[in-house]
Amino acid sequence: MNDKEILIKNAMQNIKVPEDRLESIIDDAFYETSKPKKNKRKKWLIPTIAAAVLLIGLFTATLSASPVLANYMAQVPVIGNVFSIFAEEEEGLIQYERFSDDVKLTQSSNGITISIDKAVYDGTNVTFTYTVTANKELDDSAYLTGFPQLLEGEGPAGSMDWKLAEGSLIGINTIPHLDEEAAQVNVLWEPKSLYTDGGEIEGDWKFEFAVDQLKTDPIILDEINSEGGVSIHFTEVTFTDVAVNVAYQQLVEPALLEIWEAVEVELMAADDLGNVYLVPYNGGTTYAGARTREDFSWTATMRGLDPLATSLTFYPFGHVSRMEEGKEPESIRIEFDALEINMLEGTYQIIEDPEFPVYDEEEEEKR
């Protein structure tokens, strides 16, 4: 979940819900429709009941970071296991548990204790886990507001994912930052509040910590595949202990944009054992010297590579689309030649007109 998702969720959550009236409408609807059918349904009168009031918690902030607190948090069963818990539902996270470093920073404010658990930086993404506990069990509406950022970055960016585990809130934050040269990056996170449907508790938490980069050995690529006025330029792929990161550019012919509006080039991958992987992108940026507004540099990260695989093939595809008001949106799919990486030798080759692998539909639905 990224910052915009959270903003949208917040905006929606801020709409007050007249729960009692909604309950009445549903109950009345079932009552009315259980009666013998009338020729004409009457327009209902909405009952006027006071709207539910969102309680905002206002407390005095008390910040503490003591050994007693650390000991208390150490007894919370989910601490230290956040990656493992998420790994039950999401492939490829178990390696993060193994290769991440302990952070173990704990702060408490207004009865809410936040603990940063583990962190890892693989040259493309900083990923860290946290746990939130309160005086009482949290429900599944709970989440933290306030986006983390890197001191080396340019403002908040990235994604946040969270869930409830044994009455505590646990989460994984990911911040993209492509820089193989950086031996270390510094995370700054000041959560603003703990939101729940029952109220929002503001607090005074501030975390700053450094994360060392895993040893990486990028394979420099320089391969351009073109199709239908769009080119993909593979620039680099890195196999780390936790993930596979790939960097590429999409380059668009200016003439194409006289007809079409938007271009998105994405990847999927398959290994030599027949496993198929999604390769979601972390985000893209425009770059100096770009010829068109649709020229972007992307990074994408793939998790859960089978450790027995010896080669990995990336299958690039794209969508070219346009949306004109008053007309049906249109889009066409483009498929490019594939790029096979020999992981043992660190070499690569183009596979022309490949047959695209099919990703397991059930797995895709879970995304």
């Binding site: 910052d3 549903i26 960016a157 689309s321 949106p329 995304r367």
Partner: protein, 182 residues
């Protein structure tokens, strides 16, 4: 929202208590969706009521239990859009763009911070796609079904919607894609 498949199947097969239970668990999401279109409580309740009635009348038409939530949200959106049209409250694209242009020069920081205002200023299809993805947590495939368009179009609509949102909220947060469509 994930529901017990057995409960949905029972509802489709005519179990009214099962359907009542499902609608109650979806009521907040449906109401909030309705509210984002009509902008006031009374009208949102009206749309919600119409959605519930439609759901009761046509639940037997749901073919796949998995798509129950998708089907329900689609009813809600259609009811909201019909309500706006019938009450002539629909804002057309040209007006939105004009308003955006004005806003981009006069809006102060506080206004820009208001993501709900930014969402409101988006053309309907972008707003719908963003809410389905980021509030309802629908997959691209589910959104494609609700919006009746190809999945590739959904992706582009989402990305462009985010970019427009970013433009409205310029300076408030960084968009990792840093995309500018102008």
């Amino acid at each position: 929202m994930q529901h017990d498949e057995e409960v949905i199947t029972a509802a489709i097969e005519g179990d009214r208590i099962a359907l009542q239970q499902l609608l109650k668990s979806e009521k907040e999401r449906l109401y909030r969706m309705a509210y984002t279109y009509v902008k006031n409580e009374d009208d949102a309740l009206e749309v919600f009521q119409q959605t519930v009635l439609q759901a009761i009348e046509s639940v037997h038409q749901v073919k796949e239990p998995y798509y129950f939530s998708t089907w329900l949200v689609r009813i809600c959106i259609n009811k909201a859009l019909a309500f706006l049209k019938n009450n002539k409250k629909l804002v057309y694209m040209d007006e939105v763009e004009d308003r955006n242009l004005e806003n981009s020069t006069t809006a102060d920081v506080a206004e820009r911070l208001d993501v709900s205002s930014a969402l409101d200023s988006l053309p309907e299809k972008f707003k719908t796609a963003l809410m389905l993805r980021y509030y309802q947590d629908f997959t691209v495939k589910q959104i494609a079904i609700v919006m009746e368009c190809p999945e590739g179009t959904v992706k582009t609509t989402l990305h462009r919607g985010l970019a427009m949102l970013k433009k409205d909220l310029k300076g408030v947060y960084a968009d990792e894609r840093q995309r500018d469509f102008n």
